[in-house]
Amino acid sequence: MDINKKSLLQDLTPEIVSTSRRWYFLFALFVVIWAIGIYALIQQIDKGHIVTGMRDNVVWGVYIVNFIFFMGLSYAGALISGVLHLFKSKWRAPVIRFAELITVISLCIGPFFIFFCIGRLDRLPFLFAFPRIQSPITWDVIAIITDLFGCFIFLYLSLIEDFAILRDTTDIKVKPWKKKLYRILAIGYQGSEKQYRILSQAKNVMAAMIIAIAIIVYSVLAWIFGVTLQPGWHSTIFGPYFVIAAVFSGTGLLIILMQIFRKIYKLEKYITKKHFINVGVLLLIIAAFYGYFTFSDYLTKWYGSVKMDKILIDKLFEDYYLMFIFANYIGILIPLIIVGIPRFRTIRNIVIAAVIALLGLWFNRYIIVVPTLETPFLPIQDFRMDFIKYSPTWVEWSLTAAGIAIFGIFMMLVSKVAPLVSISEMEASEDVQGT
């Protein structure tokens, strides 16, 4: 590949220089979806949680599923970007920024689903005013805030060099206000040896930190379930199981985003089949681990035949069998087959495998949260259908769609000020020639 610095800058900053029609169209679409979500939220605030499918028994529904899902994506992004950075993978350059952005954006969106789930939002400040260290909820609040700071710092550190390049470049036309912004954000980085050394050191430290934090934070989230005595939740492997599942979903999303932005921003030259195969192999390895954990979790529950676990597993194979099969069979086996057999490893197939993995993971979260709540230890006193069986309403679906839309909006806004593929990483890679 023959790429010089000028063409690299021009290729990687199309939306920074000008705004395409496609950008406006996509942005408008996301804003409309988001606006519908806001309308749904107003309905929920006005009429209360009665407009959702949640009732006395199933108090956690799609909102919590989305919360776990988005947080999983975030931790996966952190793990992937941290590992790629620390191990100095040669092929990381075009994908690492996506992983970093997934981390921060998902982390900003996820907690909102908790707010949607809380009946008395006015009591939320009590969580900070009177925290109880012994509560897993408090651990989670501390963990998320800590993780958010860490991921922001890591993302910012990795952007500094790009901001400096954009500040100094004359190869592309950047609006004056953006130049001013880059001047501030680049914090005087000139690329001197000393500055480079300090920056590299800080990035290495933060990469290691965010790996550790991602594992701890997602384990904490898993322990919110694991430390309760509910059937299906009280499991010692929930911590590592959640971490593996998170990386699985995050890898899937990474592949999807690579493909979307590769097409939209015409990055085919930089994000090649090689990158898809490399991330696909990562997906394959994680799928194998994830399948192993899933099997292990259900096998021990089924073999133990504890009364409530048995009722739950029967429910999964009766009321939720299609979802169960999709989440735990198709969602694992298809990525394994597609990426595992070299003949099937085309970009399109890998993207399809990633979509299946991502959907499978969402359903996996659904069947972890909802059927357990439909199987309480004490018999359900109120036998109204909506108490027995949870069905998400249009309000919950709208807010879910709004969550996805806001992810898109954030990605697009970021693309207006920062390159989605790291220029400095690409420059440092062997393929790029000097100016």
Binding site: I133, I142, G188, V205, L359
Partner: protein
């Protein structure tokens, strides 16, 4: 790209269709005309109010599902049914009609009242009805405590053509209210209109030992449900002191190991953040020097 989008769209459709099939099936089921059941009960309470409760529900695999908002008509007089009133079922599927005190209810030749509850049906549910006959009974209750023994004295009689007829050879049950239902704690037997029941010693009350004692003809074949309630101090005072447990979430302070672990972790992590921030400051300073 277009092809991929199409694949993804089709895949989402298939997954959506598959995964939420149980819900779709549920919606499909909603198009059928369903056959609900009705449970019809008579209750005469402590205040002498006569209450008719008609509960409408569906029997499903998941249990009994109460039906809300269905109009139930209540009738009396077997010979020429007279509409007493119409009430909609509430969220628990119960339509409750309180017979006005001044109502004079026609009796049949056996001195029974006849009641009939009917839901006429709609485009979703089939018609359902139930009838019952009850004989009016007067129940009174008094309590006394002698030498530590707690006794309940009950008197029951019916009025037939102005004559007081004592109830005999019938069981009566003593209940106390608990969280979800009434708990039977004792039972007695009427002989010549009187029954004496010994109340057990070990029934928990509130923190002061207050306890509501209920004597009740419970789903009686002839009298229906007739009850009397008396407030007593016969309960064992309940203790709400929670045994101290260091592992509980509601303890005043977290275990020491937890505080230490969390503190070390937070200091470690935020220390590294501080290092990163200091590095940024250093980069800025070096930049200024270079300029």
């Amino acid at each position: 790209m277009k092809k991929e989008l199409l694949y993804i769209f089709l895949l989402s459709l298939i997954v959506g269709q598959w995964s939420f099939q149980p819900l779709a099936a549920q919606v499909e089921e909603e198009d059928e005309i369903l056959s609900p059941y009705i449970e019809f009960k008579y209750l005469k309470n402590t205040e002498g109010q006569r209450i008719l409760d008609a509960k409408i529900f569906l029997a499903t695999d998941l249990g009994l599902v109460p039906l809300e908002g269905l109009p139930v008509k209540f009738y009396t007089n077997y010979e020429e049914p007279e509409l007493m009133g119409e009430v909609n079922t509430d969220s628990k599927g119960i339509a409750r009609y309180i017979i006005p005190e001044e109502s004079v209810l026609p009796m049949d030749e056996d001195n029974n009242w006849w009641f009939y509850a009917e839901f006429e049906g709609n485009d979703r549910y089939e018609m359902t009805m139930e009838e019952l006959t009850v004989m009016d009974v007067n129940l009174s209750m008094s309590v006394n405590e002698e030498e530590g023994a707690k006794n309940i004295i009950l008197e029951a009689y019916t009025m037939i053509e102005g004559e007081k007829i004592p109830v005999s050879d019938e069981d009566i049950y003593i209940f106390v209210p608990r969280m979800f239902s009434l708990l039977p704690v004792a039972e007695g037997y009427f002989i010549d209109g009187l029954a004496e029941v010994k109340f057990p010693e070990d029934v928990p009350g509130d923190e002061n030992g207050n306890l509501t004692v209920i004597a009740r003809f419970n789903d009686h074949w002839q009298f229906g449900n007739v009850e009397q309630r008396v407030e007593t101090e016969w309960g064992v005072p309940a203790s709400h002191d929670v045994a101290e447990s260091h592992r509980a979430l509601w303890t005043q302070i977290a275990p020491r190991w937890m505080i230490v672990t969390l503190t070390i972790m937070l200091i470690g992590v935020w220390g590294h953040y501080l290092f990163a921030i200091v590095s940024m400051i250093l980069i800025k300073r070096k930049g200024k020097k270079t300029e």
